[in-house]
């Protein structure tokens, strides 16, 4: 049995827990409950012939008052940097976290998830141009909606694939 630790990183209220719940339990709740510390979930995924048990570390969102503890990221085989498409500042927070995560995880693969894409584009504050710029920098980006489930399965499958093939 292959087991992998995956961390969910991002600013507060970007939808990390919702993405995990959508992926693990196929549910979504409009009610917001902030994560304190870390919450663990797991999901068994199949990649090719390999069955992988993903241990999902849903880490609390980072804000001015609560910084993500590096020790949570230690030992992660991959991670997501989650960004709220309607809050531009969450991209900056996410990218800062990614720098720390890259160091702690010794260069583990990651994917940037632009979440809440179910909301009207008129509310999107991260432009397509910004996304393309990030892609150009070599970052892998997937647009997701925890509410509708868009891109969620794809994101987890892709990260698993990256981890296995690393």
């Amino acid at each position: 049995m292959i087991k992998k630790k995956i961390c969910m990183l991002g600013a507060f209220a970007v939808g990390k827990t919702s993405l995990v719940q959508r992926f693990v339990n196929s549910i979504f709740s409009e009610k917001y409950q902030t994560t304190i510390g870390v919450k663990i979930d797991q999901k068994l995924v199949q990649t090719g012939d390999t069955e992988v048990n993903l241990m999902l570390w849903d880490i609390h969102g980072e804000d001015n008052y609560q910084k993500v503890k590096p020790s949570y990221i230690m030992g992660a085989s991959g991670y997501f940097v989650v960004v709220d498409v309607t809050r531009e500042e969450t991209l900056g927070v996410g990218l800062n976290l990614q720098k720390m995560a890259n160091e702690m995880s010794k260069g583990a693969p990651f994917i940037v998830l632009i979440n809440k894409t179910d909301l009207p584009q008129s509310e999107w504050y991260i432009s397509e141009t910004s996304i393309n710029e990030l892609k150009d920098k070599g970052l892998e980006i997937i647009l997701t909606s925890a509410k509708e489930g868009t891109g969620v399965e794809e994101a987890f499958s892709r990260l698993t694939e990256l981890m296995i093939n690393k």
């Binding site: 087991k3 630790k5 030992g75």
Partner: protein, 576 residues
């Protein structure tokens, strides 16, 4: 051409060329190699950079196993320590000192924990109960405390990779694990541990979260460099369990060092570490009181009752038998030699004088009869006072002694005895063992002569014997009467009459009145003579016996018809 001739033909340049062709090396290389081999220092310096790589490759390719190398390394280390212990001590100092310090600190902590635990319970009601239990059970107080304080059961043991928090192995006891999802529990444990360390801002290398208390469950975490072992324990574990956990995590690190360092998510490798974790599944349970089945309890009670009854009857029987034996031993003429029990029956081996009382006569008083008691007698002659007296009394039946007693081998006889009687009695008794002498002197002297004679005469004349028609035969009662008659006659005859008179017995035959009177007189006279014959046979002198007939036509005779009566007369010797 020989080889030598061939070499001589070649010049130096040609030889160099030949070496180069054969070895592939020029002269300079060959010279360097030659120098290298000849100089061991240089040679060892040269190969030193390749040697570790070669060993590593050998081990990696499994051509050489660690097990094969280990003895050499151990020997080398041993030899080195022996040669220069100080050097090795210096090498180990940086490692040993912190390790010793840590071990001592752990022991002190463990001791303090135990003391704290004891103090916690010192004055509780529970503690008082334990004290009482100790007093009543006879066990030491320490044993009782231990039996209550350290009852525990290790339910589940996790081996967790420290860095990733991933579960490497999960072992449960026979009841199954407590956690629904061991993977999540192990990750969460790691997260909690990380959170605690980060939040408290403590040095990770020195401080670790090692105990989590959750209701009746305790989670003990024992860290290692790359993995931790966490045990979920029900109850109150002893401090010794920490040592077991520590040994387990050490064993895992010794055997899976490489796998732990290079762990990339494949947990199958760690299945082999199960035996180390299995050693942590320990338990110490309270002894449960077993329910005693009613049937067996009842049976036990019946058996105990039966046993009790058997013991009671046996004891009672033995007590009664002992009393009986004691009683029998006190009886004259009985000497008990041996007691046995055969087929549930008491067997008594004893000596018995024929004159002693048969023990069966009184065994009934003690609850014994021939069904449970048997005597095996051998006859003997008892010299006990009672038996001597009894024996003497039997021999003196024919004499009119009033009483008889024995003291210090002397028989004392009281009664009206004549000298001839005394002599006869003496002759009879003096042969009996246990009798030294007979005393009746005082009695004889005190008796008035005439009184004795008169009594005997009165007795003689009182007797009469009745016979049937034409017969002369004494029945059994008449025979007894006849004996007494003779005894009285002899009393009179034995008396010393100083020759002034001699007693004569007139035997009077009383006739029948039926038939011929003369004929009846003849028959009666013959009856008198026949009776005299009997008396002569009994020792009465013939010359002192006179037959006569009494015929009376009227029924005024004091004696019955066909009877014989007696009359005593004293006559001068010349009249006899």
């Amino acid at each position: 051409m020989s080889d030598k001739d061939f070499i001589n033909v070649l010049n130096k340049a040609q030889l160099s060329e030949l070496r180069r062709i054969i070895t592939g090396l020029d002269e300079e290389d060959l010279s360097r190699l030659n120098n290298l081999i000849k100089d061991p220092d240089a040679f060892s310096d040269h190969i030193i950079e390749f040697l570790p790589l070669s060993i590593k490759k050998l081990i990696s390719s499994h051509q050489v196993t660690l097990d094969e190398i280990t003895p050499f390394i151990e020997q080398a280390i041993q030899a080195s320590i022996k040669a220069n212990p100080q050097k090795f001590a210096n090498i180990l100092y940086p490692v040993m000192v912190p390790a010793i310090r840590k071990a001592v600190a752990e022991d002190i902590k463990r001791m303090l924990d135990s003391v704290s635990s004891s103090v916690d319970n010192s004055f509780s009601v529970k503690r008082i109960g334990w004290r009482l239990q100790s007093i009543f059970s006879g066990k030491s107080y320490g044993e009782i405390v231990l039996s209550h304080a350290f009852i525990y059961r290790v339910r589940e043991v996790f081996l967790i990779h420290t860095e990733t928090g991933l579960l490497l192995l999960d072992i449960t006891d026979e009841r199954g694990g407590l956690s629904n999802n061991a993977d999540m529990v192990s990750s969460m444990l790691t997260a909690i541990k990380d959170f605690a360390q980060d939040s408290l801002n403590v040095d990770r290398s020195k401080s670790d979260l090692n105990t989590i208390q959750m209701g009746e469950y305790t989670i003990w975490i024992e860290p290692g460099p790359y993995a931790i072992v966490a045990a979920i324990i029900e109850g109150r574990p002893p401090e010794e369990l920490k040592v077991i956990l520590k040994e387990a995590i050490e064993a895992v690190h010794v055997n899976f060092d490489h796998e732990l360092k290079t762990f990339d998510g494949d947990t199958d490798t760690f299945k082999k570490s199960e035996r180390f974790l299995q050693s942590c599944i320990k338990q110490q349970e309270k002894e449960q009181k077993k329910k005693k089945p009613i049937a067996s309890t009842l049976l036990l009670l019946i058996l105990l009752s039966a046993l009790g009854y058997w013991i009671y009857t046996s004891v009672d029987s033995n007590i009664r038998f002992n009393h009986f034996v004691k009683y029998a031993e006190n009886q004259p003429g009985i000497v008990i030699n041996k007691l046995e029990k055969q087929n549930g029956k008491h067997v008594v081996y004893a000596l018995k004088d024929p004159l002693s009382e048969n023990p069966y006569n009184y065994s009934g008083q003690f609850g014994f009869d021939s069904s449970n008691l048997q005597f095996k007698f051998k006859s003997y002659l008892s010299l006990e006072k009672e038996i001597i007296l009894k024996r003497s009394s039997i021999l003196l039946q024919a004499f009119n002694n009033e009483s008889i007693h024995l003291s210090n081998g002397i028989i004392y006889l009281k009664g009206n005895f004549r000298q001839t009687e005394a002599d006869s009695m003496k002759a009879l008794l003096m042969h009996l063992p246990g009798i030294d002498s007979i005393n009746f002197d005082s009695i004889v002297k005190n008796q008035p002569f005439r009184a004795v004679i008169n009594k005997s005469v009165f007795n003689i004349e009182k007797y009469y014997f009745v016979f049937k028609y034409n017969t002369f035969k004494l029945d059994s009662s008449q025979k007894i009467k006849f004996t007494k008659l003779i005894k009285n006659i002899k009393n009179v005859y034995d008396f010393n009459f100083k020759n002034d008179s001699i007693p004569v017995i007139v035997v009077i035959a009383h006739t029948s009145r039926a038939g011929n009177a003369e004929g009846n007189k003849i028959v009666a006279f013959n009856r008198a003579k026949q009776f005299i014959d009997l008396m002569v046979a009994a020792g009465i002198p013939m010359e002192t016996l006179v037959p006569t007939v009494s015929y009376k036509e009227e029924e005024k005779d004091a004696y019955p018809l066909r009877s014989v009566s007696f009359k005593v007369k004293f006559v001068k010797p010349e009249e006899l």
